[in-house]
């Protein structure tokens, strides 16, 4: 049996024989969905990247903010 196949079987058997782990995996997947799909995409856009297309523009904006807020 190839090494790669052994690794795949190792994980496959491990996941199949889980008891508490199955419930935990469901929680992990729901949590990751909420974090990365709902929260990140809908509520947490990168403020600078979503407004400015280049690094230079982002730098200029932050500079202006830092100067005007004093």
């Amino acid at each position: 049996m190839s090494f790669l196949k052994k690794i795949i079987l190792f994980y496959y058997d491990g996941f199949r024989s889980m008891t508490v782990g199955k419930k935990l995996w469901i929680i992990i997947l729901i949590k990751l969905f909420i974090l990365f799909i709902i929260l990140k995409l809908l509520f947490f856009p990168d403020f600078l990247k979503s407004r400015f297309s280049s690094e230079r523009e982002r730098g200029d904006y932050v500079r202006e903010q830092l100067i005007l807020r004093k």
């Binding site: 419930k23 509520f43 830092l66």
Partner: protein, 525 residues
């Protein structure tokens, strides 16, 4: 033109970050400590060949797995918040945060994700020694992940190893090793991970005590208690030592935080350490009122702990506001012992730095090299006070003194209580009387919430005590926050509160159910 930031955006963004960090820190310390305790128990199994140790290892490993699974990725939300709510800060820190967090991500992925699978799936499939090595590597990986996050946090408390580039408005790393091995980073890492070890030791003591109270699994409970109490005693002593180291660096690098921790307004030579005290309600700097309504102190101890010199002058809040004293540190650079400037002067110099920062860009754009050189020189000579330029009054440089004071006291008093508890447990265990001491067993169980309280209090001291700074002396919260709507932060605050509370309830429910079921002989996957 001056841009006014809605204070509500700053407050809600801070509250949201605090909420996320507090919940995150409910999961992390147990992972840090329990991973090592599981590895130690498995080592005992491999060394002795006693199957009872295998059973014990699997039981605690299951609880470790539950905590790990529910807590994993809760910290990623902090990074979301950096990008959305704290975009000025994220830009300003430049690549300083990038390197440690990237290393953390790679390490966490390869070390934890690979070896944790072998820990849980590998029983009877890989050799005993390889399985044991995987358990140790999981523990080391988890703790190394914490290292990089704590290095990034320490840089915010004591920014070193970088140079500000006015062209890009970003800091650039000049010396990675200065960032990694700054005294603040070293002490913070050691103190934080040892807090995790103590948390896990008390978690095991508490649950084992519950088994003894229920007269169930007494063999497992007694063996677990012995390992956890020895581990807990050693690490809690180490926690006290690293706490002293942390306080010593705070005295040097963040003297305002030390003054707040001690509720100290007027400094003096041979300053005492307040053991217990009630700060005067409504006390303000310079109002002439007593600092404390009541206090008990150890004479000279604060000077010894902060300066390693019983006669040293420890500045209070008012001394730091007014300046004019010479810090009495030994073995530091001459710049660190120069006469302290009043905060009002630092504000003036900060405003000069910010103005020069703007003038530099204008001069470069206009091709005026003379004006650019002048602005560059003005900015460099005042950059150490850059953040003070955003403060409206000197009093804005003060953290919340009573909250910092009480949080620090709670952490320290609980820390010494944990040492005493470990000693008591080991004493009665050695006399074979632990099962008869039901008061002690109950105390062990009810200490579990207290150890979490101590950890949270520690973070409140670290983070609230350094206010108003996001980056010490360089960037206060009001300059770091994004120009976003307060309502959007309020909505996500509520979303996080709901999500994290649900996760915490899930953790407690699954963990409680698993504890009640107890260990299974057939495996605990």
């Amino acid at each position: 033109m001056i841009l006014n930031i809605d204070p509500a955006v700053v407050d809600w963004s801070r509250a949201q970050f605090a909420l996320t960090a507090i919940y995150h820190w409910l999961f992390v310390p147990l992972t840090l400590g329990l991973s090592f305790l599981v590895a130690i128990m498995e080592t005992l199994y491999v060394k002795t060949g006693d199957p009872e140790w295998k059973r014990i290892t699997k039981f605690w490993m299951t609880l470790f797995g539950i905590n790990f699974a529910i807590g994993v990725a809760t910290g990623i939300i902090l990074e979301f918040e950096f990008g959305t709510n704290w975009s000025n800060y994220s830009w300003f820190v430049g690549d300083i945060f990038g390197a440690p967090l990237a290393i953390e991500g790679i390490m966490a992925f390869f070390l934890e994700s690979t070896f944790i699978a072998i820990m849980f799936f590998g029983w009877n499939k890989v050799s005993k020694k390889f399985h044991l090595a995987s358990s140790w590597l999981t523990a080391i990986g988890a703790n190394l992940s914490a290292l990089w996050i704590l290095v990034a946090n320490s840089w915010m408390q004591y920014p070193v190893g970088m140079k500000f580039n006015p062209e890009t408005a970003r800091n650039e790393m000049q010396n990675f090793w200065d960032v990694l091995f700054s005294p603040v980073a070293v002490h913070k890492f050691l103190h934080t991970i040892s807090a995790g070890y103590v948390t896990a030791a008390i978690f095991i003591l508490g649950i084992s005590a519950w088994f003894l109270l229920k007269k169930r699994e007494t063999g497992l409970a007694r063996k677990s208690i012995l390992v956890a109490a020895i581990f807990g005693l050693i690490t809690s002593l180490f926690l006290a030592i690293t706490g002293d180291g942390s306080a010593f660096t705070v005295a040097q690098k963040q003297p305002m935080k030390l003054a707040a921790m001690e509720g100290l307004y007027k400094g003096q030579r041979s300053n005492g350490l307040v053991l217990f005290g009630i700060p005067q309600p409504g006390k303000k700097a310079g109002d002439g009122q007593n600092n404390f309504a009541l206090k008990v102190e150890i004479p000279g101890m604060l000077s010894i702990l902060g300066y390693r010199n019983v006669n040293a002058f420890v500045p209070g809040v008012e001394d730091l506001l007014n300046g004019g004293f010479k810090p009495e540190f030994q073995n530091v650079s001459p710049a660190e012992t120069e006469t302290a400037l009043p905060i009002s002067e630092k504000i003036v110099r900060g405003k000069l730095a910010i103005t020069a920062f703007g003038d530099l860009k204008k001069a470069r754009k206009a091709g005026d090299e003379v004006a650019a050189a002048k602005a560059d020189s003005a900015m460099k000579s005042n950059f150490a006070y850059f953040g003070y330029g955003y403060l409206k009054t000197p009093e804005e440089a003060l953290p919340n003194v009573p909250l910092t004071f009480y949080s620090f006291r709670s952490m320290v008093i609980l820390g010494f209580y944990f040492i005493l508890l470990f000693i008591l447990v080991l004493y009665f265990h050695s006399k074979n009387q632990l099962q008869d001491k039901r008061w002690l067993l109950r105390l062990m169980l009810w200490t579990i919430p207290l150890v979490y309280l101590a950890g949270q209090a520690g973070w409140i001291v670290a983070e609230l005590g350094r206010q108003p700074w996001v980056i010490q002396d360089l960037l206060p919260t009001r300059a770091a926050v994004s120009m976003i709507e307060t309502a959007s932060v309020q909505i996500t605050f509520v979303l996080f509160a709901v999500l994290f509370t649900a996760l915490l309830i899930a953790e407690v429910m699954i963990m409680t159910k698993q504890i009640k079921l107890g260990p299974k002989d057939g495996g605990t996957k």
